[in-house]
Symmetry: C2
Subunit: 212 residues, 2 copies
């Protein structure tokens, strides 16, 4: 029952627990509102352990930010990778969103906390900017493909269309937290679906204008 852990494993586990506890506390009280002591305590360690594993709170925040952005990108990629049709892809996204909705507030709070921290910490910004760019260009490719499949011309630069879809995610999440009754579980996916149809209509109309 007592699995022997190698030192490396033990250390990794300690770091992981500290990161997790920090994420929770950041969501609850903010980065500035959570003390090193509280983080260590919730993780089940002491302050000494914290400083042994991280150079300080800022270093932990940086690592948390990197970890979260990486993991989220992975999850979306995995969720949509297996989808053959557009409907399947949307279904997969819906499922992913539902999953996330269960901890929406703390999720959004953590995202906003990390965003703010990145805004205020110049050396962290490239990290976030890069990940956002990647998300946008993947989305742009998807939009282009889907419109093309329906025989519609993009009614604007696909990069701009992707930006809209991408931005909607954050914006709708915020609205949802502020007013859960007005924003359904699947608003994000529904909205993107609607936009895609709208753009198809606009692009198709333009393309068929000459023919009709």
């Amino acid at each position: 029952m007592a699995e022997r852990l190698t030192r490396q494993e033990s250390r990794r586990r300690t770091r992981g627990r500290l990161l997790e506890a920090a994420a929770e506390l950041f969501a609850e009280r903010g980065v500035n509102g959570a003390s090193v002591e509280q983080i260590a305590e919730r993780a089940g360690y002491s302050r000494g352990a914290f400083y042994g594993n991280f150079d300080g709170k800022d270093a932990l925040v940086a690592e948390l930010l990197a970890e979260r952005t990486r993991r989220e990108a992975e999850e979306v990629r995995e969720a949509t990778a297996g989808a053959a049709t557009r409907a399947e892809a949307f279904d997969a996204l819906r499922a992913w969103n539902r999953e996330r909705a269960r901890n929406l507030e703390s999720w959004l709070a953590l995202r906003m906390e990390l965003l703010l921290h990145a805004i205020r910490t110049p050396e962290l910004r490239p990290l976030l900017a890069e990940r956002e760019q990647a998300a946008r260009s993947a989305l742009a490719e998807g939009v282009r493909r889907e419109l093309d499949r329906d025989g519609a011309a993009p009614p604007a630069d696909p990069a701009f269309l992707a930006l809209i879809a991408h931005a909607l995610e954050d914006g709708l999440l915020i609205q949802r937290v502020l007013d859960p009754a007005a924003v359904g579980d699947e608003a994000v996916v529904d909205a993107v679906e609607l936009l895609l149809r709208s753009w198809t209509a606009l692009g198709g109309e333009a393309a068929e204008e000459g023919g009709t």
Copy 2:
């Protein structure tokens, strides 16, 4: 030169300066990161003055939140009130956005700080929720009217369309701060304009389907 201020005026001015200084500092360092002393100092007063005018930092945050949401709603209303045509309204919004873009980062940081604070402070949430609802329903009315003017049926519940437009604002601001190069000055207005055209196309298509 030395205008005599009545006590009321003087007090009001002190409060205003404290609120302004707090807004700056909250944007820079976060609500938790700004101490009462720093706020008082930047405003040109001492801590005693602060506690004489507010019950504490939380009370100041609440007042700041109320003031900002009220003021913003007013500004948008004023900006669009004078517009006779849709183009004029969009132009007015563009101008308003350009104005705001000059302090974009601190503006967004403050909004996010206040949002987070509201998320974590149950008694503050109704305040924000109410204002967001009002904004959405005003927007819904506008969307309905514009689509109607073009003879298009709303392709979805106008409330949902308004939600999308409204959410885009926050989302695009976030993207813009993270990656200014990828998001133009007028992305918000451009996006809403595009959406309106798209929905017209979709709604018009649906409406004319039987006729064609």
